[in-house]
């Protein structure tokens, strides 16, 4: 499968602060790729480098086959970018804003524009500066979807929006998902869990992992063991077990490479008298918390 976005050791440094470090990322065509991570992880910086808003300090990125530093002018006819902190021309009315944009895009679909205006209930005669945050995001999204972009890049698009607006935006985005690739960043795991096909986790400028949502959900399990008698943990368990915790006769951990047979045999090797085992699927939020805590524990252990 071709990649809509591909980066090679991409870094961005602001004087002494390295906001993005050696980012290697592939966003397959047709994917809905969620770049997640805590605030300050470098998601917005990474996206700005991809969009050639910022120049990379090292490494390179390809967007729709084009080097990101050459991304300007015409190539943006195939890219829709919406960011929470983008400065829109506040003096324009929504109607004029859409009319103004129309002339730049050969693929502008006036029918789709009308649909989006109707769907988002956009008041065409209102100035952008007088709109609520949610309405402004809707207007920006309408202006980024109406020309059928091949790639939609959304930087924290739902942050601070009320659930109703968020659902409307997600719905309209998903309606177009079949014809494009979507990269979006978010620090709210719950909001992307329902629709992202791929997820990448960025922390302190480094990509901890990136994979398909289904494989991520498949390989993580919350495991609970009930033992015949209390045990003392010996620290001898596989590396894939995270957050191992034991109360007298119950052991809980997160298995990060779940395979029913393999995991069962590892459990049997680690604990002699297991009375009951349960493997529970995990939410994305629980997976990320387990990863984050696991890494913290590993770092503390190294020290």
């Amino acid at each position: 499968m071709n990649s809509a976005i591909r980066t090679h050791d991409l870094s961005k440094r602001f004087r002494r602060v390295e906001a993005v470090h050696g980012l290697n990322l592939e966003v397959p065509e047709g994917a809905i790729f969620a770049l997640v991570g805590p605030n300050g992880a470098g998601k917005t910086t990474a996206i700005k480098v991809l969009m050639n808003i910022l120049r990379p300090s090292a490494g390179r990125a390809e967007i729709l086959g084009l080097d990101s530093v050459q991304l300007a002018g015409r190539p943006f006819t195939a890219i829709g970018y919406v960011s929470e902190n983008q400065e829109l021309p506040g003096w324009m009315t929504i109607g004029y804003f859409l009319r103004y944009l129309r002339a730049f895009y050969p693929n502008w679909d006036s029918g789709l524009e009308a649909d989006l205006v109707r769907q988002f209930q956009l008041p065409l005669d209102r100035k952008l500066k007088h709109l609520s945050r949610g309405m402004r995001m809707k207007a920006a999204l309408a202006g980024a979807l109406a020309y059928h972009p091949k790639l939609i890049v959304l930087d924290e698009p739902f942050s601070g929006l009320d659930p109703l607006v968020r659902d409307e935006l997600i719905e309209s985005m998903l309606e177009r998902a079949s014809e494009c690739t979507i990269l979006l960043s978010s620090h709210d795991l719950a909001e992307i869990e329902s629709f992202a096909t791929h997820v990448g986790y960025l922390e302190a400028g480094r990509l901890k992992f990136a994979e398909e949502m289904t494989s991520l959900a498949d390989r993580f399990r919350e495991v609970e063991l009930t033992l015949s008698r209390p045990v003392t943990l010996s620290q001898c368990w596989p590396e894939s077990w995270l957050q191992v915790d034991a109360s007298p006769a119950v052991v809980r951990f997160v298995e990060s490479r779940f395979d029913p047979e393999k995991t069962t045999s590892e459990i049997q090797r680690a604990f002699a008298e297991v009375r009951d085992v349960s493997f529970n699927p995990m939410s994305l939020r629980s997976i990320f918390l387990a990863i984050a805590k696991g890494q913290r524990e590993a770092e503390e252990a190294k020290r």
């Binding site: 300007a72 829109l88 920006a140």
Partner: protein, 517 residues
Amino acid sequence: MKQVLHIFRKDVRHFWKEIGLWLAVLVAFTWNAPRSWQPEPNYGDFVARFIYPVLLVLLLVVWWFLIARIVQDESLVGDRQFWITRPVEWKKLLIAKLILLFLFIHVPLFISQCVTLWRAGFSPLMSVSGLVWMQLMLLATLVLAAFALAAVTSTIAQVILACVAVVLYMVGLDALDSVVPNNSTLVGNSDNWQFLVFVVACIAVVIIQYASRRSTVSRFSLTAAALLIALIDVGTPYGKLIAKAYPAETGSELPVKFAFDASQSKAKGLGSDDGKNVQIELPLLISDISAGSAIRIEGRRVFAQSAQGRWDSGWRGGANLLLPSERNYLINFSMPKRIYEKMHSAPATVSVQFAISVLRFGKPWEVALEQGDFNVPRVGICSLVSPGLSSIRCRSPLRKPNTLLVTSSSTTSTCEIPEEQRPPKDSIAYDLLWRDDSSPADSGIDPVSDFTLFLTYRDSMPEPVSRFGPRLCPGTPITLSESSVSGRMRSSLSIPQFSLDKYRLPTSMTLTIGVPR
């Protein structure tokens, strides 16, 4: 082109109020300008003269504001602008902005200048090339500077701060000029280089910003250009350039001879005291200026040497005109007090070098003054400021005329002058209008050059003649002759055994309290 026009239409829609304000100020300026030319102003004209500079400043401020707003509408600084992730091509964006500036700044200004010329009594059609020149100069200076500053800032407040920085820089540059050993006004080479650096830097910054929005690089470029301009000021070998531009005089036929006037045994004038310098007066005799020519002293350099030390003033600019009838020439120069204190007790050898331009006057022509406006060939339109006084107010299209000597003889005055105020027969009053460049127009906005010829007697006159000066009335003929520079050279004079002490100018303070020198 479609995208260019699209952005252009958007800007017109957005900035119609700013454009309207600019046009309104321009109309007010155009309407007011002729009232400031009136030779005998009434109350309204006085107000108009006061308003003129106010409107001019306002015009420039609104102009800069409009340019800054137009450029910053698609801000080139920052990473949050919506347009940078849209298919806006930088060349087309830049062209759209330039078209807007051309149509709404340069074209209205051109029309305003044509109207002003027409109202001044001149044909705009005859001045098209000069007007284009004025527009190009404005583009290369004010517009380009405003454009470059707006391109490296994102708000009007930042533009204002940048302007303050520019003003402070220019004040600093001016101060630097005063401490540079040799005066740069004698040779224009450094000015040309500085102008070139300024223009190239501004154009480079605009292109860098539109092509790649590298604000740090652009700001650094502007700072580097500013430093380079200052460096050119300091580092130009003015001494060598002056020596080249004004070669030492050779040959037997010198255009002027200088000699020390030993008959004047001490300083006659009055000096000022700034605590750091003393002023020395040097009385000279001049001779051998041939008829039909004049000498313009462009600058001078004074050396003093005695057993106690030596001092070199460096080249200092300052224009003085010497006519064939002149016999005396008084110069005074400032010497640092500490050097004076060291050297004044013993006689010194003082050498003076003059950088001179030799002017040859062309065939003169005569014009009889009239009541009201009258045409003066090769000058423009003039009028007497007030009959019986010594001033003629003139206006010329685009620029002041070339170097022009205007004379009037007391014998031909048509004014009725009381006997005691009448000057000696054949006393010549004159004024010289100095202009030594061939540019087709003055720089600025106003296409009408407005100036006053103020005729004075060269020779000292007894009271009360000197109080009233030459009298000009309707019917009084004046003679005009254009001049051209026929040569430039350096002339030297050495005065041995010169007493600095004797020729030190007394200050008003020392006179008042009677402290002996």
